[in-house]
């Protein structure tokens, strides 16, 4: 009674590997991320105050701690630097190498900048006309999707840097200091109290603007979305996986016990006790343990690679991959123990039967009445059909597993493709309507006379109040002057561009519609400098994020928001170079394309995870099905061959019936995937600033089907070999 079946061992190892690596991967990446952020004392909100306001008073009133967020932005020929003092108590920088700068000649730089420019500790970096030595390399929790320069330029790690320096060096630079505060609520405040405090602060006249970390689209919302995305995707993948692996392992154990049943019967007949016989099955735990350890090791290699891919677009702190004793016990020792006990229990259960019954393997005999009746009715059923039906009625688990094969490929691949389609859609919507080369914001408003042929606009900061009572403090109103502009607003519902000059009210985007529960016809109160302008919503455009509402220039003048036709920005087809004397920012089309493709990379990486999991598990499962059938029927396959059945006939008789079952599984998986992706993306859309459009995709279904068909046939081709390998000698042996 040895566990001499080679495949069984491999299987157990592989299964355990999968469980452990994924679980560990999931846990390390989500919880470690949180922990790192907590250690860095992550902010809850960012504040800017009216000139006369007092921050200490406010902090007492709303019980939060605060930290001055002061910085200077320095431009040189190539790079933009955000210079900050290294005195933070909130959003504490985490040094991955080196330490904080201590002298006037030292600085610390962010990790992305150091990587992209191959700067290491001790390297020299020139800012303006001064050269500094790098004393440390850090990451910041409030700069996950950073805005280095406030000028709307998309973040580029290579040319934009965060610099930490000491007081003395900071004061040398004469650039204008920008000041805001980061705040973090005291520990004792509950989630609800925090929300109330935030709501009150929004209405406080001393506070110019307040942005909670959740609604800050450029900094932390990106992380939140990512974290949620990550959680939902990984969790659902892990759930499918764990479920499948448990079934696979249990099936294999049952199968193994069945195969060794007659040996067990003989031992029992010889007088061995149940425990003596069954305890040998405890060894299964050792295999699971070995697999688990391998998997644990694997995950520590795989997850950093994967995380790096996902983090390519963000500045996220390094996640330390520490050995975690609790995880090790929970995901490696526990499963090993459980499967040992399960195997032992099943063996004991089997051993309850009298030895003779076990020796003659009576389990193959309980063909149910259903089959007998059918056979009686249709007597002329050919041999090949009866064989297949007997195989599956005797081991209904095989049907289930075969179905699982199709199911897993279809579900995982389609979720993967949906992810990719979603990434495509998000990025195409981001780019939709953008026909300009540069978006230039001037420091001073200009008269219409100096207007050139491009698309001018005027933007002002405003506060908005929505019909449901919610308030948006840091909104923007953009007056557009040209309906045929280089910047088009697109209505998905109406499937055409919105002609801004025809709008007697304002246009809001889809994300705002969802977030504030808006509809066409609702009135939004726009507050500009203590004046209130109620304006109706006349159209909804399909941007996936942003806190800007749009209106026609003429309408804005009529409503009194603007007193004459001026503009402070322009969308232009020219490639304008940023000039910090003249421009607030210049944002370029190519930057938007770049950042959107980086985002896309994240989703593509996730989708590959799904594809790999789906295919690997499916191959594993169908492998088990085939192996089980072949091992259980070796003798009879050999006999059929002796009688003159050819290899391909044997193959067809025994295996081909599973094809249709697997395809049924595929169909079920398709429905599952459609339902799951609706749920997934629905949840995601609600929790992020990004509105995600989602439709079931026939192309994805086709593609998954093709991939499934090909891999299924390939696997079957491989296993055909193992049927061919069943030798005739096996019949001749007793």
């Amino acid at each position: 009674m040895k566990l001499n079946k080679h495949y069984f061992l491999i299987l157990v190892v592989v299964c355990a590997m999968f469980i452990c690596s994924l679980l560990v991967f999931y846990l390390q990446n989500t919880s470690a991320l949180k922990k790192v952020l907590a250690e860095q004392n992550q902010q809850d909100f960012t504040l800017t105050l009216q000139d006369e306001a007092d921050i200490t008073e406010l902090s007492k009133k709303y019980s939060f701690m605060y930290d001055l967020l002061a910085y200077k932005v320095i431009y040189d020929d190539k790079n933009i630097f955000r210079l900050m003092k290294d005195t933070r108590s909130i959003d504490i920088p985490m040094y991955s190498e080196g330490a904080a700068p201590k002298t006037i000649n030292e600085i610390a730089i962010d990790k992305n900048f150091s990587q992209d420019n191959q700067l290491t500790l001790g390297s020299a970096l020139t800012i303006g006309n001064r050269t500094y030595v790098i004393s440390g390399i850090f990451t910041l929790p409030d700069a996950i999707m950073p805005m280095v320069a406030d000028n709307g330029l998309a973040y580029q790690a290579k040319t934009q840097a965060f610099i930490l320096c000491d007081e003395a060096m900071y004061s040398i630079w004469e650039e204008l200091e920008k000041v805001s505060y980061s705040g973090r609520f005291m520990e004792e405040l509950s989630e609800e109290q925090q929300q109330n405090a935030l709501a009150e602060m929004r209405l406080n006249p001393n506070i110019k603007s307040i942005v909670s970390k959740e609604e800050n689209p450029h900094i932390l919302a990106a992380l939140n979305t990512k974290e949620k995305m990550f959680k939902i995707c990984l969790l659902s993948a892990v759930c499918i996986l764990v479920f499948t692996v448990i079934i696979l392992l249990t099936t294999t154990i049952i199968q193994n016990i069945n195969e060794t049943k007659s040996d067990m019967g003989i031992l029992k007949a010889l007088g061995y006790t149940t425990t003596q016989i069954a305890k040998k099955y405890l060894i299964i735990g050792v295999f699971v343990l070995v697999g688990g350890v391998i998997g644990y090791g694997m995950s520590s290699i795989i997850s950093p690679l994967f995380i790096n891919r996902i983090n390519a677009a963000f500045l996220v702190p390094d996640i330390p991959q520490n050995f975690n004793g609790l995880q090790f016990i929970l995901f490696i020792i526990m499963p090993a123990l459980c499967f040992s006990i399960l195997a032992f229990g099943l063996a004991v259960f089997t051993l309850r039967k009298p030895p003779l019954e076990m020796i003659y393997k009576t389990e193959t005999i309980k063909v149910n009445i259903f089959v007998k009746k059918r056979q009686k009715r249709r007597k002329t059923k050919p041999f090949r059909k009866t064989v297949f039906r007997s195989i599956i009625t005797n081991n209904i688990l095989l049907v289930f597993l075969a179905m699982l094969t199709g199911f897993m490929v279809s579900a995982n691949l389609q979720i993967a493709f949906s992810l990719q389609a979603m990434a495509d859609k998000v990025s195409s919507i981001t780019l939709k309507g953008i026909e300009y080369e540069s978006n230039v914001r001037y420091q001073e408003a200009k008269e219409m006379e100096s207007l050139n042929a491009d698309t001018p606009y005027f933007v002002r900061d405003c506060k908005m109040e929505f019909p449901n009572g919610e308030v948006l403090n840091n909104g923007q109103f953009m007056a557009l002057y040209n309906s045929m502009s280089l910047f088009k607003l697109y209505s998905i519902q109406k499937q055409h561009n919105i002609d801004i000059s025809q709008q007697k009210g304002i246009v809001v985007n889809d994300w705002m519609r969802k977030k504030y529960d808006l509809a066409i016809g609702d009135t939004i109160k726009i507050y500009i400098n203590n004046d209130i302008y109620p304006l109706p919503i006349t159209a909804i455009e399909q941007s996936v994020y942003g806190e800007t509402v749009y209106g026609d220039g003429a309408m804005a003048i009529q409503a009194g928001i603007l007193d004459r036709a001026v503009y402070n920005g322009v969308f232009t087809a020219d490639n304008v170079e940023f000039d910090n004397k003249q421009h607030v920012f210049v944002s370029k089309f190519e930057d938007i394309v770049k950042s959107s493709s980086q985002q896309k990379g994240t989703y593509i990486a996730l989708s590959f995870l799904f594809i790999i999991i789906g295919l690997a598990l499916s191959i594993l499962t169908i492998g088990i099905v085939v192996k089980v059938i072949i091992t259980a029927n070796r003798k009879y396959l050999a006999l059929m061959k002796a009688f003159g059945y050819t290899n391909s006939e044997c193959n067809r008789i025994v295996l081909s019936g599973f094809r249709i079952i697997a395809y049924i599984g595929f169909v079920i998986g398709t429905f599952y995937a459609i339902a799951l992706s609706h749920f997934l993306f629905g949840t995601l859309a609600k929790s992020s600033t990004i509105a995600i459009p989602m439709t079931p995709d026939s192309k994805a279904i086709m593609l998954s089907l093709i991939i499934f068909a090909i891999s299924y046939e390939l696997i079957m081709l491989l296993y055909k070999k193992s049927i061919n390998a069943v030798s005739l000698q096996e019949v001749m042996m007793k």
Binding site: V367, K372, Y636, A642, T646, V731
Partner: protein, 230 residues
């Protein structure tokens, strides 16, 4: 006619070659009942397997009516077996999850034989078609395996100790059926056995020892199964 010449089959036994068949020659006419006797390990089963196309010889020729099967590829051998041969084993090897009828169809379907009824009745299994193998006695199982073999209408029936696990009464029953069906269907029987009494009903008796045929006896007047002294 089956004509075997200088058949050699060896197995690796440690460092040495073990000759299970050492230059064996034999001729068998159509419709004969050949019994192969010999001590254990003398090469009887090996001989049966090689001449029936289950195993390939190292050298030598096996001619079935001038058709040489000694050097055929696996695939062609399979087609040969499908066409010409059938087997009965001591351990029956009925498919345990199929009932008697389905088991017999395994043979019948290979030749598109629609008339399995007669064979079932011929081996005396009428009424037991729906039973599963474990619901039959050893003798009944062996009869089912005879029916399965004959349902494919073989020219040659190879039997390796078909009565080895059965008592005298049942063995005689099996042999009676075999003889009866041979008369009806006109096939050749080549049977390996340890029981020398069976030699009395054979038309040719072959004695093997250490991989060689040491004696061939032709029996012009084989006796009937009922006259057998066990």
């Amino acid at each position: 006619m089956l004509k075997v010449e200088n058949l050699i089959k060896s197995y690796q036994d440690g460092n040495e070659l073990l000759y299970a068949l050492n230059s064996v020659s034999l001729t068998v006419e159509h419709g004969e009942f050949v019994v192969i006797l010999g001590p254990s390990g003398s090469g009887k089963s090996t001989f049966l397997n090689v001449i029936s196309g289950l195993e390939s010889p190292d050298s030598g020729s096996i001619l079935y009516d001038d058709y040489e099967i000694g050097k055929l590829q696996q695939k062609e051998l399979t087609l040969f077996r499908r066409d010409k041969t059938a087997f009965i084993f001591q351990a029956y090897y009925l498919l345990p999850f199929l009932n008697v009828e389905a088991n017999i169809k395994m043979g019948a379907d290979l030749k598109g034989n629609q008339h399995i009824r007669e064979i079932i009745d011929g081996v005396g299994l009428g009424g037991l078609e729906q039973r599963l193998p474990h619901e039959l006695s050893g003798g009944q199982q062996q009869r089912a395996s005879i029916a399965r073999a004959l349902a494919k209408k073989p020219d040659f029936l190879f039997c390796d100790e078909p009565t080895g696990a059965l008592d005298e009464e049942t063995s005689k029953q099996i042999l009676t059926y075999l003889k009866k069906l041979q008369k009806q269907l006109k096939f050749t029987i080549i049977m390996v056995t340890h029981n020398s009494s069976i030699a009395q009903i054979a038309t040719k008796v072959i004695k093997m020892s250490s991989g060689r045929i040491v004696e061939v006896t032709n029996n012009a007047h084989p006796c009937d199964v009922s006259e057998l002294t066990w």
